[in-house]
Symmetry: C2
């Protein structure tokens, strides 16, 4: 079981997003345990920062496997991630050079985690 902690700011206001995140968490049951921590200052190393200027990869599985059974992700707020936290990241991963809302970033991250865990039965 992989323990995933996602450090981010602000609650999800949109109902569709809450439903979407719940759906992916459900699909990940037994493979990954997702914990949301709404205080980015509580993060402990090593962590992976999600930032549009980070490294673009087509398959994150290999990179993520280096972190073993604990994955800490950091998603910044509307103004991105503060320099201090960005510099201390073990890896800066860019989901896309496009700017996404931090809420959309949560959804894309869960979808990618799900894709890594269930590639064979995954309905693209």
């Amino acid at each position: 079981m992989i323990k995933v902690r996602i450090y981010t700011t602000g609650r999800c206001k949109e109902r569709w997003l809450q439903e979407a995140l719940a759906e992916y968490e459900k699909r990940l049951t037994g493979q990954m345990e997702i914990e949301w921590i709404l205080d980015i200052q509580k993060i402990t190393p090593p962590w992976i920062a999600l930032d549009p200027n980070g490294e673009l990869v087509s398959s994150p599985a290999k990179k993520l496997s280096k972190f073993g059974s604990r994955l800490n992700f950091l998603i910044g707020g509307p103004d991105g991630i503060e320099k201090n936290l960005l510099e201390k990241s073990a890896w800066i991963w860019s989901l896309s050079p496009l700017t996404f809302t931090h809420q959309m970033t949560r959804l894309i991250l869960l979808e990618q985690l799900y894709r890594i865990n269930a590639p064979s039965q995954y309905q693209k």
Copy 2:
């Protein structure tokens, strides 16, 4: 008013995704008119193909503005876009080198169109 036609395959089964797309279409009212066409063979040039191997850009606004007031987007199914249609594209745009479901691609596309149209009041 910009007319956006999105050619894709298959309906959205997930309720949260239907809600999310409806929400973005509502926000785009008066600026963009979105039409979904569930038959990619009906597409007429010029069109923009969405493909992970296309061009990555951080701000698509300038690229898209070249197409004037009509934007035709092509989103492939689970097996991507057939070569024939990809080759005839006016532009191949990559939202990310990651593979997204075609359903997630719809949502990210609408979110980016909304971002282009409403950058000032946009709550990241």
